[in-house]
């Protein structure tokens, strides 16, 4: 009985320890001007590729210390991020699908929209390059896609209403091709998972440069076959959700975030973010 009591108390102690730690967040090493959360929290809905690029982990501590607002980042596909804005489950959106953003604003779901930054997409393909994209279309995305469909070589699509997927469909449309067939694989997943599938299947895909740069080490079968086409530019927008949608929206916090991310200091911070020495995002906010 005594043995059981001792060990029951150990279990309870561990639970209590867990309970007390659960409230803690990892301590940030820099000196903080304001305690994150002292001024409220916002839910920032963004895309998986934005989170996977690592940019937000790099810039958000500055936001939290300047404003004292805690930014809870929920990274989902663009489609879901926009849906979260429509139902008011997010306070501010950071997405990269201009057509869907414009539709969102036209429907009255957003208060303000600003350009923030852009990065670019690249077409990735197997080193062997069966569709000869590197030779025939290294700077022309539409021609590259046409060449891939002509073989037809395996092409892996995210098929998840993401910004990347939207751009991919735009290129297919520009090439006047409706991709269908065994060669066109739809993963319905995020960029990282899709790249993994592409790597395994030695196929082609469209990826944002940041995610590829982060994952390059594990993507030994792939390389960039087409880049630099103006059509491959990937602009990001920040949208504050219309507080009329429901009562829980933190409109002031959302506005603080939007104003902060287009401010010159933050724009410089975004430009300074490097993956393996390369700048990934180009700031593009126009001064008000």
């Amino acid at each position: 009985m005594k043995k059981r009591l001792t060990l029951l108390s150990i279990v309870v102690f561990v639970c209590a320890l867990a309970l007390s730690f659960a409230g803690c967040t990892p301590a940030a090493p820099e000196k903080k001007a304001l305690e994150p959360g002292s001024n409220g929290t916002i839910i920032l809905a963004t895309t998986t590729s934005t989170q996977d690029s690592g940019l937000l982990d790099y810039i958000l501590p500055a936001f939290e210390s300047e404003t004292g607002i805690k930014a809870n980042v929920v990274a989902v596909g663009t489609g879901q991020a926009i849906a979260m804005g429509t139902t008011g489950d997010a306070d501010v959106l950071l997405v990269h699908a201009r057509a869907q953003e414009d539709a969102f604003m036209a429907a009255g779901s957003g208060t303000e929209r600003f350009d923030v930054m852009y990065n670019d997409f690249v077409v990735l393909g197997p080193v062997a390059d069966p569709a000869q994209v590197k030779v025939n279309a290294p700077k022309d995305a539409t021609a590259a896609f046409t060449a891939i469909a002509a073989v037809p070589s395996t092409f892996v699509s995210r098929d998840d209403k993401s910004g990347t997927n939207t751009k991919e469909l735009d290129i297919w449309k520009a090439a006047n091709i409706t991709p269908a067939g065994d060669w066109y694989i739809k993963t319905g997943s995020g960029m990282g998972a899709t790249l993994t599938v592409t790597n395994e299947k030695l196929g082609y895909t469209l990826a944002d440069r940041a995610t590829y740069a982060n994952m390059k080490a594990t993507m030994s079968n792939l390389e960039i076959v087409c880049e630099g086409d103006p059509m491959l530019l990937n602009p990001y927008g920040v949208i504050t959700v219309n507080p009329a949608i429901n009562a829980k929206i933190n409109a002031s916090g959302a506005k603080a975030f939007a104003d902060w991310i287009v401010s010159p200091a933050t724009q410089e911070l975004i430009a300074s973010y490097k993956i393996n020495g390369d700048q990934v995002f180009t700031p593009s906010a126009t001064q008000k």
Binding site: G190, T211, K248
Partner: protein
Amino acid sequence: MDYILNGFAEAFRLLISFDPEIIQIVLLSLYVSFSSTIYATIIGVPFGILLGITNFRGKPIVSRFLYTFMSFPPVVIGLFTALFLARSGPFGQLGLMYTPSAMIIAQTILVTPVIMGIIFNQSTTRGYEIVLTGKTLGAGKLNTLFLLIFELKGSIMIALVTGFGRAISEVGAVMIVGGNIRGVTRVMTTFIAMNNNMGQYSTAIAMGIILMTISFITNSILYKYIIGDINEYRN
């Protein structure tokens, strides 16, 4: 093959370094899963016992539903919980979405049928004798319940261990209602899923090893010191 070996090397490095973020993730996972298992036990044990020892009309149908809910897909539970807790949902005013509390709620819903099903089964098969014994000793209704709980404590522990195992290892529900927010709702399983999606296999494997180790340690403690000799096969 090398990323499997890298995974073990990375796991060792993570454990040695006591990275505060990893520790926070592990402790949050334990907090969420322990809490939901405890709540599920508090709800599941009395109801399981009562349902087991009562003969009511529709008992076969209820037991079939109960056993079905034991293996309900966690991701579907997460989805339905999210529909209720979202700002646009009926409980939106509580602001629970994307918090550890939402994760505990979802996991409690997930684990309660597991515990209830095991206890229900045990109390149906063994409850009659225990109730009779209680009657001969002059036990009232409440004391009979305590007697049942005491006699069935082995099964209760097994149910707890099973329920906890289900809670700590599921990813669908906590991903949907928690949102895998860094420092707030990121737990071991969502961390693994995220790192796998990002192609960071070594980190994912490392956390997977930590998860299995934690699970093993927790179950060992419960098993050895609380269940005790119930597992001894008598010859």
